[in-house]
Amino acid sequence: MVNADLQAEIVVLGAGPGGYPAAFEAADHGKQVVLVSDDVALGGVCLNRGCIPSKALLHVAKLLHEAKEAAHWGIHFGAPEINLDQLRDYKNKVVTGLTGGIRGLGKARKVQLEEARGSFLSSQLMELTYKDGSKKTLAFEQAIVATGSQPAMPKMFQIGDDRVMDSTGALELKDVPGKLLVIGGGYIGLEMGSVYAALGSEVTVVEMLDGLLPGADRDLVRPLQKQLEQQLHAILLKTKVLGLEARPEGILARLEGENAPAEALFDRVLISIGRRPNAANIGLENTKVQLDDKGFIKVNRKMQTDDPAIYAIGDVAGEPMLAHKATREAKVAVDVILGLPAEFDAQAIPAVVFTDPELAWCGLTEAQAKDRGLDVSVIRFPWAASGRAQAIDRTEGLTKLIFENKTERILGMGIVGPGAGEMIAEGVLAVETAAVARDLAESIHAHPTLSETIMESAEGMFAQATHYFRPKK
């Protein structure tokens, strides 16, 4: 190894849900690992400014809904009293508890943590810049880049006013704005929009395309959209934001769309139109690593970049930008470094939208199956036929399975309804292990649970589901 202040067999750059599992996995296999992160708290965006804090808040939002819904069942609560400081503390406690846990796990594994900004000097050398400005060099045999992504913030929305926020800002929960504009009808916008709506904001969601959650099948989006229409003030589809203007009384948004007002005033604006990979300013130009035209690091299925010493995982290595994809890629990268026959060959990366109801899908969507001209059957099981769904008064849900006709193999699953995010795990297992309809139909599912809807969907492949009758065509 070249001369340097520090040495590492493996250096991992970034400590998010890609980076820290990679460091841990490598250390568990006896590698000498240095984990470089300039974020004081480990866990990356997911733990600090993404998945985890948003779920803490969504949990609260769901409770608020249910308290309201309880009125239908004869239980009347008074109007909730929201102590925002306490709520923020709770959310922060969740986060610090988890980040501290990761730090402890790293220590136990003897992963050396360097709290510094890492930048490649070459394919063997990294420069670390610490908070106090001091610098060290780090020589490595192999590097794993896991620098993640950040919210996309187009120039036109950068108006120098902190009332215009990205998801990070929205999670800080500075106040509950009277009127909130959410730009972008993807999962981040809908989740944060739901939280603020539950806390009492009047939320308007603006989406450029003609539907929310592009990528999900429309029949799954419909029940969710219906619920959201009640929770939110307005959902404006096919609507463009022409510009934002800071005024003392609020942010003036100029809109263009069929049902959109030309102008409207908001107390805060959340920009949630997507995320951009963090591939700049880390010295990749000093290596052989190549980027694609969207700015992602180019990798193959072994997570290898064009530089033989450098691997890339997680958001910086391509879509979909999801924590659980990053974690799996981390294991692949380390396995490959160890010479094991690993490849990222996942066939079902679950996608979950944690709104109420939740929406989740994995494997092929119905639209994808049709586009590819595959010979498939799509079986839908409406939750109105589920005893459990009736009992919890959430009959709007829907479970659907996509089967390959020739083999009755499960190619995809989609669920909308409370708990869909948990239930989708069964679909992932089914798709990954190439399960067939009979495997699901003849595996006993506990009664009364929502998971029975999966079993009954599979029964539909042979004849009738017990609790749902389809008139013969």
Partner: protein
Amino acid sequence: MAIEFKLPEVSEGVVSADIAEVHVQEGDIITANQVVAEVETEKALAEIECPHAGKVLKVHVKAGESVKIGAPLLTIETNSDAVASAPAPKPKQDAPVQDSPAAQAPAAAEAKATATPATPAPKAPVATAPPAAETSATDRPPAPAGPATRRLARDLGVDLYQVHGSGPGGRISQEDVQQYVKARLSAPAAAGIAGPVSAPPLPDFSEFGPTRREALNKIGKTAAQHLGTSWSVIPHVTQHDLADITDIELARKMFLQKTGKNGPKVTMTAIAIKAAVTALKAFPRFNSSLDPETMEIVYKQYYHIGVAVDTENGLVVPVVRDVDKKTLLQIAAEVTELAAKARDRKLGMNEMKGATFTITNLGGIGGTYFTPIVSYPEVAILGMSRGQSQLRLREGELEERLMLPLSLSYDHRVVNGADAARFIVKLSALLSDPFTLLSES
């Protein structure tokens, strides 16, 4: 409505193409059937027409990229409902060789077959980011096997699509993979005569000095692969000879003088083609191929001669068809035309297929002898070097004669050394005596 325009099938059997040039930019308005890009396939350049009219929203490719057939080239916002369902996208290819009716018919049929219907836009928004699915390159579902089985298959280098799954729905178990490997190992070794050997990795040249890298172009890549196969499969021997071309060269010059500048360009290559056919007819094994599976010699009852042409972009080998049925002047004219097309990169794929014997003439450059590589599955190739004046003894007299060095490489599995010597002697004789050439061909 947004439509994805995908790279249509450019030519039969071609699975990918290099983008040579993209003629449109994002924001451009295009008309139906406008040429939007040029692609370079194995050996030809083809223009890609887009059947849709509208505005180019996104260009998915750039020059130099290698793109699979069916990969999106452009996203086009078509003009409202008036989706111009113009005729199928069809790569514009050059007309097949005019005076070869045999080649013309299949080529025309092929052109029809490659015309794929315009793909309608998917109903879902184009900008969707499917969560998984994209991991599989093709449209067929992944092989039915769980992650542990897939890992085992990778470890053993097994293509799961080849494995018969014993489980429901054809699911492949780890035992199925093991069975497959066992069966393959116990199968009799393939009757291959010689397999290509993979090259060991390069050393780190930077230890010795600075380097520069340049990607091979498509022609270069194809040639490298083809020559590699030819060289590793065929046991080569090269037989040399000197042909006395004094008289024939004199005759050729006289003819050219008479016909003037605009007359047919009768080159030594054209004459050699004519002579080669006569020799090939006399020694049919030189016009054959070896079938490695059945160990049979496949005698071809047609004479298509490949002519190596050196172009700016690399070596290409257009084929003159049915030379036995053509006059010297016809052959000469065709060689001239094919060479010009080759230099302009206008050769169609069909104009480079089907040779039974190849001639490569380095006479224009120099050198004495060389050992050309036989182009698999042909069995012989004739190399011509520069004719040189030499003093020769003829009937006791020293004479200045023009001697042409010939190098005949052949596949020693098919042709033995004695036959090769006979073949080249025959060829020399034909080139030495215009009357023999005239009387025998």
